[in-house]
Each structure stands twice: as C-alpha cells, then as structure tokens.
C-alpha cells in the first residue's frame, strides 16, 4: 500500500532487513572468525560462568 509517493511498507521493511544483512556481511569480513568450539553454554543460568556479554548499563 502506498502513501502518495512514499514507498510502501513491504519495500521499506525489506530495505531494513537488507541493511542488517549488509551489516553482517561487512562484519564478517572484518571480525575474527567465529569459533564454534568456544561457544558459551546454551543457557547462562546454571552454567557456572559469569555473564560475558555487553550491555548499555555497563561502564
């Protein structure tokens, strides 16, 4: 559905998803390869490990 000359939601939503895909491609090129053998336990609770992720409340 169009609103005057603005692109419709399906096209804009697809562009948003395409941006994420492009970002992941760029990231793959410049980041260290993922080591599947170093993957953390499936669930943090009960793992015995401290959380290692980053959060916006961290210093």
């Amino acid at each position: 559905m169009m609103s005057d000359n603005l692109p419709g939601r399906p096209l804009v939503g697809t562009l948003a998803i395409a941006f994420v895909v492009l970002l992941l491609v760029i990231d793959t090129v410049q980041s260290a390869p993922i080591n599947p053998f170093a993957a953390p336990p499936p669930v943090a609770l009960g793992s015995g490990e401290a959380p290692e992720g980053a959060h916006c409340t961290q210093p």
Partner: protein
C-alpha cells in the same frame, strides 16, 4: 509476496543459521529477539505511543500494560539475581547529571521520531519509513555517544544504587512493585473514563514480554537491552570506513574491545535486535494488507527525523540505556537509575509532544499531518 509458509521458513532459516554459525545460545537469543518482534508488532505493544496518549488523551491503558510487564519481570528477576549473582547480572547503572539529561533528551526525541529504542527497530522492520531514517541516525548517535560517554559521566554521578542494595532482596522487590502500583494508580486516577483498563491484547502482550525478558536474562545472563547493539553496529561501520575505533577510550576497554573484535552474531543485544527487526518484518508481511505507510512530511522534517535519531542514540548512550535497557530492564532488576530515567524521560516526552507539531510538518502537496 512471500507466502505465510515462506515467512515461517525465513524465521527457521534465521534461527537454524544462527545455531550453525554461532551455537545454541546465540540461536536461543535469536528466538527471544524474534519473540519480542512478534509480540511488539503483532500485539501493538509500545512505549512512546502510550506515553503520548497518556498526556494527550488521558489514556493510561498502554502505561498500565508496561508496568504490568515490568512488574511481572521483576517478580521473577529479583529472586533469580539474588540466587545466582555469579551467573546473572542486572541492568544497574549510576544516577548522574548526564544520565538524567540524556534521559530527558531521549524522551523529547522519541516523540519526534514516534518510537523509542525498541520501537524504532520494530517500526523499521515493519516498514515505517520515518523509523528507518531514525534508525540510521540512532546507530550513528549511539556510536558517537560511546565516544564521549566518559566525559559526560565525569560531570557528576552517584555510585550505583539498587533497591535490593538499599532495602534487601525481598523488600527491594516489594518497593519496586509498590512504586509501580502507586504510579499506575495515579495514572488511572487521572485517566478519562473508558481509557483505564487495558484490552485483552495488551494483557497478553505484557505477559509475553515479561516471559521473553526473563528468558533473555536466563539465557544471556543479562537483561534485555537495545542501545549497546546499535552503538556496536555504528562502531563496526566506522571501522569499515577506516576509523581506528579500537584506539578510542571506550572501545579499548576489554569488554568493548572484545565485542568490537568478535562477530555481531556473538553479541547479545545485536542478536536480539536483529531478531526483533525480523520478527516485526514477519508480522508486517504476514498481514493480508500491510498498514499504510506514514503520511509524507516535508524535506526539512526528514532532516529533523534524522537529527532526532542521532540525538536519541547519543542521549541513550550517555543515559545508560533507552526505554528497554534503562526503563524496562533497569526497573525490573532493581536499578535506581531506571526510576530516574523514567521521570526524566517522561518529562522530556511531554516537551517532545509540544515540539512535534512545530518541527514535523506535512509535505506541502499532501497537506496532511503525520500519524503515529
């Protein structure tokens, strides 16, 4: 147009692909992110919209649903954090001058772009053009904010206070629930008749959001967040553009340097952010007739949206979070900064509502106002 079976297949490919590349935890977090997107877009649960209608229409139904989701999450998160302090962490940050100012500015901006942190991702994924433009600014602003955050924080801040730390685990939860009830009661008292009790859709949404937020905490070891991932996306793009991001004060800290060096598919908030956008996209395509695009706005107003997105990302970074990381996750895990964020952002939101008709103008030809 993809069939509904095709949309389900897309979701499965996303989850299975994440599992194959990164492992089970990343796949589970992608599922959680997808769940957030499906619930937020499918059941139309938001943050900025309810704050707007509370002021403009004395409609408290959305805010009550938000408080219900936060309260339900807190009831489970507080005992979990107390029982497993080595494995789980809360969204705890210090109250400070820049934190309060950042929340105030964020409140203004989220009414200009008609979406908060999660709302911008959901709206962009569901094809809202204003949100997509704002998201570009949000990513840039979050990254810029990370570069300056230490300077802002040094303007003055308290140490980190939590309600558990001040009152004890059980009493901290009691105070949290009591505060939510008191503010909800105030909102109900001030609301117009017929605009007090949330519809069934929002009760379900609140319960599901709480379940997903607890799952996020249990799986990742940390609460639901949005802004960190967007700042990291900006850092990755800046790095790709040739900037030595790793040499900056913020991104040279061990935790952030690790995230900068590793794949986005190993970053908790990036995974849930991607899932959230994908979930909103799937809901939009699932509908037989997608919602109408936003009404056209003037060229200058598009510039306002972009700048507002930048300021929203910047302010969220120096405020230690947005409506998700600070307001939702902060309050539901006992951080005093979550309450300070709520008060400051709500005040900013009220100002943003006054600025919105002055700064966002309809396109000259269309001659219509923007709808939220």
């Amino acid at each position: 147009m993809p069939t509904r079976a095709g949309l389900i297949l897309m979701a499965l490919v996303l989850v299975v692909g994440t599992f194959a590349m990164t492992g089970p935890r990343a796949a589970l977090l992608m599922v959680v992110g997808l769940g957030f997107g499906l619930v937020l877009e499918g059941l139309r649960f938001g943050f900025a919209g309810p704050w707007r209608v509370l002021v403009t229409e004395r409609d408290s139904r959305g805010l009550i649903a938000q408080f219900l989701a936060i309260g339900l999450t807190a009831i489970i998160a507080f005992p979990l954090l107390a029982a497993f302090p080595e494995e789980l962490g809360g969204a705890h940050a210090p109250v400070g001058i820049a934190m309060i100012g950042g929340a105030f500015v964020f409140g203004i901006m989220m009414q200009l772009v008609m979406g908060c942190g999660s709302g911008t991702l959901v709206n962009a994924g569901s094809g809202n053009l204003i949100a997509l433009v704002a998201l570009a600014g949000f990513i840039g602003g979050s990254f810029l904010g990370s570069l300056h955050r230490n300077w802002w924080t040094e303007l003055g801040s308290l140490r980190v206070y939590t309600l558990q730390g001040l009152f004890g685990d059980n009493a901290g939860l009691f105070v949290t629930i009591l505060l939510l009830i008191v503010i909800a009661a105030l909102a109900l008292w001030r609301s117009a008749p017929g605009k007090r009790i949330p519809p069934a859709r929002l009760w379900w949404a609140a319960a599901l959001i709480a379940v997903l937020a607890v799952l996020n905490l249990v799986i990742a070891g940390q609460p639901w967040g949005v802004v960190y991932g967007l700042g990291l996306w900006g850092a990755k793009l800046a790095q790709a553009g040739g900037m030595d991001v790793a040499a900056t004060a913020f991104w040279s800290l061990p935790t952030h340097a690790e995230r900068l060096n590793q794949s986005l598919l190993t970053d908790v908030t990036s995974l849930t952010n991607i899932g959230l956008m994908a979930g909103a996209f799937l809901v939009m395509r699932w509908r037989r007739a997608p919602d109408a695009q936003v009404a056209p706005i003037s060229a200058a107003s598009w510039g306002v949206v972009l700048i507002a997105g930048v300021l929203m990302g910047y302010s969220a970074r120096i405020a230690f979070g947005c409506n998700v990381g600070a307001f939702f996750s902060g309050i539901s895990t006992g951080s005093v900064h979550g309450w300070a964020w709520f008060i400051a952002a709500f005040a900013g939101s009220a100002l943003g509502l006054k600025l919105r008709p002055k700064l966002l103008r309809p396109a000259p030809v269309a001659g219509r106002m923007v709808s939220a």
